[in-house]
Amino acid sequence: MKREKVIQVADLTKRFGDFAAVDAISFDVYRGEIFGFLGANGAGKTTAMKMLIGISNPTSGQAQVAGFDVFTHAEDIKKNIGYMSQKFALYDDLTVRENIRFFGGIYGLSRGRIKEKSDALIEELGLQGAAHKLVGALPLGWKQKLSFSVALIHDPKIVFLDEPTGGVDPITRRQFWEMIYKAAHQGTTVFVTTHYMDEAEYCDRVSIMVNGKIEALDSPKLLKEQFQAANMNDVFLKLARG
Amino acid sequence: MKRFIGFIKKEFYHIFRDRRSLFILFGMPIAQILLFGFAITNEINNVDIAILDSSKDDVTEEIIHKISASKYFSIKQFIEKESDIKGIFKQGKVKAILNFEKDFSKNLVKDHKTTIQIITDATDPNTANTIANFVNAILQKYQKSLNEDLVVAYQIVPESRMVYNPELKSVYMFVPGVMTIILMLVSAMMTSISITREKEMGTMEILLVSPLKPIQVIVGKVFPYIFLSIINAVVIVVLSIFIFKMPVQGSLFLLALESILFIVSALALGILISTISATQQTAMMISLMGLMLPVILLSGFIFPISSMPVPLQLISNIIPAKWFIIIIKGIMLKGVGLEFIWKETLILLGMTVFFIALSVRKYKIRLA
């Protein structure tokens, strides 16, 4: 059975003046896959991701996300994706429940569904005691997990995670990845950028971006073979040093 | 010290890199002073009036001619009946209506007495009163010319000398005020926002754990704004001298020193605001909502303080802008030296010290 492509990208480019932040990248992502999008800071990961989620217009190239074109149907894409930015983006001055209700509401979930989702989500995260606390008062790890859950609230086909585990402790990171696996298992495609190379090992496939271009794309195992490296960190170093 | 200079440099970079804010900081005060210097005046000119002339004789015609010749009035329309008055007032087309009684000149000749009503729209009491006074003055002059051949009795004639502003230009009144309000709000707003911004972004903590002392952090943040405000003050003074022909009778050097003192006091107020507000939003609302109207209304910028009720006169004393306006007017228009304004200077100095002391205390409490 041929696997369904949920993201198709061909020669996608973003220029700021003379500088090509993203330089003609091409790749596909399949349904249910955990796709790692790696690169050093400034390699163009976030810019590329912003084009895919429809908040930045590409300069040229083609891209389809969840079956919709990024140039013409950005708003349709938005119904089918979830996004968690590297900057914590829930409202600090709303409570856990209020944040869930708000985002559920603007994704058009019914009142009953929001209630159901909130209860399930709070229980899953073990936030029963903190449901009526302001989000600003939660520890960072909890905030991150909550953000991820909120990004999934409308059961999107694809969820985009921009460096989701920045600044959290190893235990929380482990828990976070368990949540990612669970989502992928339920059929959600996960598109994740990171610069933690150990996390790259958890992905089904990874691409490595250097200076706006994708220099390598394969499963971690095959990449290690190709570059004759013991781990992804070495793969990355070999690529980055040219 | 080297570290401190490095920090100040960083602050300058921050400001100069943000072209848009820089443009706003310098462009807006210039635009404002030009606009206001030319446009705002509390003189009453060109008031639109209407005439209701039931006599239409030589005398009324002559009076109407005299009224329309004066620069104070422009006759907008003639109406025929008294019942029209209400309607045109409600539309706000004219501010006053002159109503000549019937048989105006006949009564004047026969009874030596005739009347004219000055009906004013007194929703604006100042304009209404001034209109009544001006019309009265024009008529008195006319009346005098009618009675020219009569022998005059004892006459004492006041000869008024308008000092400091012989041409009664309202620019002299408003430029010092506009300068004050710009320096005050820009300085206080800039500092309060830039400090709370660091707090909100979490970068303040980083600065505070650095080897820099808290006082150095604050001074470093404020220093570039002192510099910017001084440039603003210089530009405003240059504009007022060359464009509005404001005299500087007193010493420019003293004016410069006093301006720096005022800028520092406004910045200190800004620091104080930043210590009591957690977010930029709060800091801005305090400096805008809390400062704008009191500075405009209670500083003597537009409205004379001596006409206010006594409690408000007392409150006006805590407005730094009031003292600075007295100082600038003194130096620029009256040409006084420090011996005449030492009291105001001392008050400003005291306020500055007070603001700084209070902020330092607040910061210590916060850090403890």
Binding site: - | V47, A122, Y154, Q155, G290, L297
Partner: protein, 373 residues
């Protein structure tokens, strides 16, 4: 529609949860209305008056007494010489100095005509003009008295022709300045609060990073904007209501016109202000920039609104500029409807201009709001 409700709910929660802001939004403006309305008066009173009496005669004393008796002047000091008098004026202790020369009485009786030097501090030109009128009036009154005292009334004087002027002050017989100022200051406060809050609102989310999260949702531009602005619209209307109650209860300002008409106008007017605020928010990256721009326009709008100084006295080009000033229309309408009882047809020009303004500003605001960059 449901989506909009979620946004409105969220905005209200955030506004009411910010305990630092609540007093600034609700208490500060009303406090200012109550206090500052008393400050705004052009009435010239309590004029600081000094004199130099070089004559020390019955006439000079009588003249000074006339000033003392007037409610406009507060007789401050009797200066021994001009030097002291001008020093006092430099210090700002007196604003008007009357200089009675030596042999004043003797010369008056001899020549029947005498000049008196009056020095007036004219930095505030308008006040100086009024002070001059008062001085002249008092001296004229004094002249009249002199005729009675020193001279028999002649037949000729009875013959003099007199034009009697009767000033009638409509709508405000006592020339109460507060009646004029309270509606105007209320207008300012409503404008400032709604403009500053809306101007900061979206740029704040931009700065914190939550706006990006909103932009990846399928929400529509107009849903988002309506949801954002509605709470501020409600706050503006609320402030108007409380302000009107204060105007009535504390200042006893008459409300002659129709309340629904005032609310109709205000509801459109606030849309203009919110549109401007949003437009500013869209074009700035930081709250600091947004505030400077909002501040710049507010100061211009306030000072060129005819609220404090008359628009007719401005040069022609400046009068043309005021046509673009929304505060001008609001001030006019409030004063017309409240104080004169103007009706719908009377304010139609202002109403239609404001409506047009609202459409343009909100159109621009929605157009300039970009979900993508």
């Amino acid at each position: 529609m449901k989506t909009i409700l979620y946004i409105i709910q969220k905005e209200f929660k955030q506004i009411f949860r910010n305990k630092g802001m609540l007093p600034i939004i609700f208490v500060l403006p009303l406090l200012q209305l109550i206090i500052l309305s008393n400050a705004a008066t052009f009435e010239v009173q309590h004029i600081k008056f000094g004199y130099i009496d070089g004559d020390h005669s019955a006439t000079s004393r009588a003249l000074v007494e006339k000033f003392d008796a007037s409610s406009y002047f507060e007789v401050w000091t009797d200066f021994p010489s001009e030097v002291q008098a001008s020093a006092a004026m430099l210090r700002g202790e007196v604003d008007v100095v009357l200089n009675i020369p030596p042999y004043f009485e003797r010369d008056l009786q001899k020549d029947k005509h005498q000049s008196l030097g009056v020095t007036i501090n004219a930095i505030d030109g308008a006040a100086a003009g009024v002070e001059n009128v008062y001085v002249t009036q008092i001296i004229q009154g004094f002249n009249q008295g002199l005729r009675v005292d020193l001279q028999q009334i002649t037949d000729q004087q009875v013959q003099a022709m007199a034009i009697e002027t009767i000033p009638l002050f409509w709508y405000n017989e006592t020339l109460n300045y507060k009646t004029f100022m309270v509606p105007g200051i209320l207008v300012l406060l409503v404008t400032m609060i709604t403009l500053f809050l809306s101007g900061m609102n979206i740029v704040r989310e931009k700065e914190i990073g939550t706006l990006e999260q909103i932009n990846v949702t399928p929400i529509k531009k107009r849903q988002f904007i309506i949801g954002k602005l509605f709470p501020f619209w409600v706050i503006g209307m609320g402030l108007l209501t409380i302000g009107l109650i204060i105007a009535k209860l504390i200042f006893d300002v008459p409300i002659l016109g129709s309340l629904p008409l005032m609310y109709l106008y205000t509801s459109i007017y606030i849309l203009v202000v919110l549109g401007i605020g949003l437009f500013i928010s869209n074009f700035t990256d930081t709250q600091q920039q947004a505030m400077f721009i909002a501040w710049f326009f507010t100061v211009i709008f306030i000072l060129m609104s005819g609220l404090f100084t008359p628009i007719e006295s401005m040069p022609k080009w400046a009068q043309v500029l005021t046509e673009f000033n929304p505060i001008k229309y609001f001030v006019e309408v409030m004063r017309m409807v409240m104080l004169k009882g103007s009706g719908f047809m009377d304010i139609l020009p202002q109403l239609s201009k404001t409506l047009l303004y609202a459409l343009i500003m909100n159109g621009l605001a929605v157009w300039s709001y970009r979900k993508t960059s």
